[in-house]
C-alpha cells in the first residue's frame, strides 16, 4: 500500500493517463483535480459519449472518468462500446445523485467503480487509487 497522497505510477514508472468525459467543461476541470492529485496526466477530453469512444480508440488511456448522462450518446452506452473495444478498459463513472440504475447498468457493463457529484476530491482520489491498485494486482 502506498501513502494516501503519494503519486501513483505505473510499473514502468510512467504516469497514468486519463481520459475525462463530461459535457460540461466546468465539470471536466473539477475532475482534473483528481488526476493531478494522483500525479496522472490528462491524455484527452471528450464532451459526448461518441467522442469518448473515438478518443479512447485513438489515445488508449489507462483510465476513463466518464460522466453518466451526456447528449448524443449516454455515458452508459459509451461504456458498453469501449469495453467491446477493449475488455481491460478501466472506466470509472462520475454521476450526480439519482442515477442509481444507470450507474448499476454501467457497472454491469464493466465499469469498475463510481464517484458521485459534487465530487469530493479526496474521496474520489481514494476510489481511483484503489481501482488502479486492484488492477495492478490482477496484472
Amino acid at each position: 500500500m502506498q501513502e494516501a497522497n503519494s503519486v501513483l505510477k505505473k510499473k514502468d514508472e510512467t504516469p497514468y493517463r486519463f481520459l475525462l468525459v463530461d459535457d460540461s467543461e466546468f465539470a471536466r476541470k473539477n475532475i482534473a483535480r483528481i488526476v493531478f492529485l494522483l500525479g496522472g496526466v490528462i491524455a484527452g477530453e471528450a464532451g459526448t459519449g461518441k467522442e469518448a469512444i473515438e478518443q479512447y480508440k485513438k489515445l488508449r488511456p489507462d483510465v476513463v472518468l466518464m460522466d453518466i448522462t451526456m447528449p448524443e450518446m449516454e455515458g452508459v452506452d459509451a461504456v458498453g462500446e469501449i469495453i467491446k473495444e477493449d475488455d481491460k478498459a478501466t472506466i470509472i463513472m462520475v454521476s450526480s445523485l439519482g442515477h442509481k440504475d444507470l450507474v448499476k447498468k454501467a457497472i454491469g457493463l464493466g465499469a469498475k467503480h463510481f464517484i458521485t457529484k459534487p465530487v469530493q476530491v479526496e474521496y474520489a482520489v481514494k476510489i481511483v487509487r484503489s481501482v488502479l491498485e486492484e488492477n495492478g494486482e490482477n496484472i
Binding site: S95, L97, K100, V103, K104, I107, H113, F114, I115, T116, Q120, Y123, K126, I127, R129, S130, V131
Partner: protein, 694 residues
C-alpha cells in the same frame, strides 16, 4: 346498526362503524387462513395464538358495537381454542370444520349488520355443535398431552422468514458455511444502493447471499450506515472479507459464523428479551401508515394524467421552438426544464400508481379455503400451489378479477381433477394439483391457473357446439384444436353439458371472458388430454394508463391496448383473400377476418360523427407504391380478427380520458405529444361490429 353509544355523535359513530367493519372483515380473512394453517400443522403454536387473538378482538369489538350475537358466539368458540391450547383437544378436520363454520357465521352476521339487513343469523346450530364437540372430547379416556411448546428459533430482528431459515438449514446440511457479514458503509459513500450492488456482485461470486438486511434494492438503504448479509459459501473468511472491502464503499467488515440465536443487537437482559423480540425497526413504520379513500387516489391519478398530457404538449412546443430559433440559450433552458418535468412526472406517476397497487394475494388468500371445502365435498384430493401472490396490480382490477378466477378454480376442482381412484388407475398421483402463478411481463400481469386433471374433451366440445348450432359440422372436423378449445368461452356452451358445465353457480366461462375483456385483458386456454388444463389471463397493470399500440388508419390516430394484441404482422397484398366480399388472412393455421376501421365505423352511426375519416373511406391501403401493410391480430376469446393499419406509430403509454361520445367502438381518448388526439378502441365492441358487418 344503530348508534346505541349515546355519548358519541352520529358522525363519530359512523366513522367507528366504518372502521369496525373494515377491520373485522380483514380479521375474518386472516382468521380462516390461520385456521387452515393450523389444520395443516397442528404443532403451529403461532397459528393458534393468532386465532385466539383474532377471536378475542372480534369478541371485544363486537361487544362495543352492540353486536351481542357475535360476542356470545366468539366467547363460546374461545372454549374450544383454550382446550386446543391446553392440548386437551387435538386439531383435526372436525375442529377445523367447526372453526371455519364459525367464521362463516361471523361473516354473515357482519354482512347483515353492515347492509342493515334485519334478518337474524341463527347461531344456535353452531353453539350446539360447539357444545356437543366439547362434550365428546372432554371424555377423559384420552390422556392429556403435557403442555410443552417447542422452542422457537430466534429471529434476526424479525427479518428472517421461514424460507430463509430453510435455506440456511439446507446450506448447512450441504456442508457449506453460513456467515453473517456486517459491512459498515464508508461515511462518504453516497448512492449506497450502487455500493451495495457492487458488494453483492463481489460476494455473489463466492457463494450465495441468502438475505441482505436491509434489502439492497430498497431505497431506504441510502439512509443506513451498515448492511448485513446472511451468506453461504465454501470460501474462507479472509477471502470473503477481502471481497467485501471496497474503497469508497465499505469502511468496516465483520464476518462471523451465523447462528440462529446470537445476532440481533438487544440491549435488554435475557429475561425481558422475549417481550421485545419481535419489536424491531419494522414497527415504527406501521405508525406512518395511512388509510386513504381510493377515490382520492383516483383524483390524484387524474390530475397526474392531465400533467403528463400538459408536459408532452410542452415538449412539442419546445421542439418547435428549437426548430425555429436554433441554439438559443432560452431554448436550452426550456429543454432542461422540460426534462426535469419529465423525470419528476414519471416518478410521480409511478408513485401514485404504486399507491393504487395491491398484491393479488388479496384475491388468492380466499382460495385455500375453497379448495379445501370443495375437494372434501367432491371426494377429491387436491393440493393448491400458489406462486407470485405478492405480484401487484391495480386495486380496481383486483376488486373485479376475484370472481372469474374463483370460477376457473371451481371448474378445475369440479371437472378438471379426477377422483383419486380414477387418477390412480391412470397412474397419476392420487392427489391432484392446482397451480396458480402470477407474474409481471411486459407491463402486463399474467395469471395462470392450471390443473393436472383430465383435460377438456375437445371432440365432445365440438359436438356440443355443432348441436347448439354454433359451428357447422363440416367446419368442426377441420377446426384446429386451439380454436376449438376457445369454444368454451362461447356463451351458449357453458351450461348444458357435463363437459363445460360449471357447478351451476350462475356464471359460466363466457362471464369469465366478459369480465376479463372489460378489464382490457385477454383469457386463453390450453388443454391436453390427461395432462390437464391451463387458463392464462393477461391483464393491464392499471386501468388509468394503458400500454397501447398507436397507429394511423386514414387520417386518424388510433390505439389498441397492448394486452389485446396477439401479434403484429407485416403482410403483402397478395396474402389477403377475399371471400364473399370479406377480406381474410391465413394466420397460424386458421383463417381470420380482416377489418378496415373505416368499414366498421361506418356502421357505428355515433362514431361516424366523431371520426373525420369515415366520411372519405377510400382509405388508400395498399396504394400502388405500397404493397405491404401491417395487420394487428387482436384476440377476443375464440375470435381472432386482424385490423389493417396504414402506419404503425409505436408503443406508447397512454393516459386514458373517458369521452362521452355515444360510440361504443371508442372507449376513450388520449393526447399525443404533438397535441393530436388518439382514439382508444374498445376491442370487444370492435370485433362485435366486425362480425355483425360480415
Amino acid at each position: 346498526m344503530e348508534n346505541n353509544l349515546t355519548h358519541l355523535t352520529d358522525k363519530e359513530f359512523e366513522s367507528l362503524r366504518v372502521s369496525f367493519f373494515q377491520q373485522s372483515f380483514e380479521i375474518l380473512e386472516s382468521l380462516s387462513e390461520e385456521i387452515l394453517r393450523f389444520e395443516n400443522n397442528p404443532d403451529d403454536e403461532d397459528a393458534l395464538k393468532n386465532i385466539q387473538r383474532y377471536v378475542h378482538t372480534l369478541k371485544g369489538d363486537s361487544a362495543s358495537m352492540g353486536l351481542s350475537s357475535l360476542t356470545e358466539t366468539a366467547h363460546r368458540l374461545e372454549d374450544i381454542l383454550h382446550m386446543l391450547r391446553e392440548r386437551s383437544l387435538q386439531m383435526d378436520r372436525d375442529a377445523a370444520d367447526l372453526l371455519l363454520s364459525a367464521v362463516d357465521i361471523f361473516t354473515q352476521i357482519l354482512k347483515n349488520s353492515k347492509d342493515e339487513n334485519p334478518s337474524v343469523v341463527s347461531t344456535k346450530n353452531l353453539i350446539e355443535r360447539v357444545d356437543s364437540y366439547l362434550n365428546a372430547c372432554s371424555n377423559p379416556s384420552s390422556p392429556q398431552i403435557p403442555l410443552n411448546p417447542p422452542l422457537l428459533k430466534g429471529e434476526i430482528g424479525g427479518l428472517l422468514t421461514e424460507y430463509h431459515q430453510l435455506q440456511i438449514e439446507s446450506a448447512l446440511k450441504d456442508g457449506l458455511s453460513v456467515y453473517e457479514i456486517k459491512i459498515t458503509f464508508d461515511a462518504q459513500c453516497r448512492e449506497r444502493g450502487v455500493g451495495a450492488f457492487m458488494l453483492n456482485n463481489q460476494i455473489a461470486a463466492l457463494g450465495e447471499v441468502i438475505r441482505w438486511m436491509p434489502d439492497i434494492e430498497d431505497d431506504g438503504i441510502e439512509m443506513t450506515d451498515e448492511i448485513r448479509a446472511i451468506f453461504s459459501s465454501r470460501a474462507d473468511t479472509d477471502i470473503i472479507e477481502k471481497s467485501c472491502r471496497m474503497a469508497g464503499v465499505s469502511s468496516e467488515v465483520e464476518i462471523k459464523p451465523f447462528s440462529f440465536d446470537s445476532p440481533h443487537p438487544n440491549p435488554l437482559p435475557q429475561g425481558e428479551r422475549e417481550y421485545f423480540a419481535a419489536s424491531p425497526k419494522s414497527s415504527p413504520h406501521r405508525d406512518t401508515t395511512l388509510r386513504v379513500d381510493a377515490k382520492r387516489i383516483d383524483e390524484i391519478m387524474d390530475l397526474v394524467g392531465e400533467l403528463i398530457i400538459g408536459r408532452s404538449m410542452l415538449a412539442q412546443s419546445v421542439y418547435e421552438l428549437r426548430e425555429r430559433l436554433g441554439k438559443e440559450e432560452v431554448v436550452s433552458n426550456l429543454e432542461n426544464i422540460n426534462s426535469l418535468f419529465e423525470r419528476s412526472l414519471s416518478e410521480l406517476q409511478k408513485d401514485v400508481m404504486t399507491v393504487r397497487m395491491v398484491p393479488i394475494d388479496h384475491v388468492l388468500r380466499k382460495f385455500p379455503r375453497v379448495v379445501r371445502d370443495l375437494s372434501i365435498e367432491k371426494g377429491k384430493e387436491i393440493r393448491l400451489e400458489i406462486d407470485g401472490a405478492e405480484t401487484e396490480l391495480d386495486k380496481g382490477i383486483v376488486d373485479v378479477i376475484g370472481e372469474p378466477l374463483m370460477h376457473i378454480l371451481r371448474n378445475s376442482i369440479d371437472h378438471g381433477i379426477e377422483l383419486p381412484e380414477e387418477r390412480a388407475q391412470k397412474g397419476k398421483d392420487r392427489c391432484g394439483a392446482i397451480k396458480i402463478n402470477s407474474y409481471h411481463e411486459g407491463g402486463q400481469i399474467i395469471i395462470e391457473i392450471g390443473d393436472d386433471g383430465k383435460g377438456i374433451n375437445i371432440e365432445k366440445l365440438k359436438q356440443k357446439a355443432v348441436e347448439m348450432g354454433i359451428i357447422k359440422e363440416e367446419d368442426a372436423a377441420k377446426m384446429p384444436d386451439e380454436e376449438a378449445l376457445d369454444l368454451i368461452f362461447h356463451s351458449g356452451l357453458t351450461t348444458a353439458d357435463e363437459v363445460t358445465e360449471t357447478s351451476g353457480r350462475g356464471i359460466g366461462m363466457d362471464a369469465v371472458r366478459r369480465t376479463v375483456e372489460e378489464l382490457k385483458g385477454l383469457v386463453q386456454v390450453r388443454s391436453m388430454p390427461d395432462m390437464g388444463t391451463k387458463f392464462i389471463i393477461r391483464l393491464p397493470l392499471t386501468l388509468a394508463i394503458i400500454q397501447g399500440m398507436v397507429f394511423k388508419a386514414g387520417e386518424e390516430f388510433f390505439a389498441i391496448p397492448l394486452s389485446s394484441i396477439l401479434e403484429i404482422r407485416r403482410i403483402f397484398r397478395d396474402e389477403i383473400n377475399t371471400i364473399n366480399g370479406m377480406e381474410s388472412l391465413k394466420w397460424r393455421e386458421r383463417v381470420i377476418s380482416l377489418i378496415r376501421l373505416s368499414e366498421v365505423i361506418k356502421h357505428d352511426t355515433e362514431g361516424n360523427r366523431l371520426l373525420r375519416f369515415a366520411r372519405n373511406d377510400t382509405t388508400a391501403l395498399f396504394s400502388p407504391e405500397q404493397n405491404k401493410s401491417f395487420v394487428l391480430i387482436i384476440g377476443l376469446a375464440e375470435k381472432r380478427v386482424g385490423i389493417l393499419v396504414d402506419k404503425l406509430m409505436g408503443k406508447r403509454e397512454l393516459v386514458i380520458k373517458a369521452i362521452d361520445n355515444g360510440s361504443n367502438v371508442v372507449s376513450g381518448a388520449s393526447i399525443l405529444g404533438d397535441g393530436s388526439i388518439v382514439l382508444v378502441l374498445d376491442v370487444l365492441s370492435l370485433v362485435k361490429k366486425a362480425i355483425a358487418a360480415a
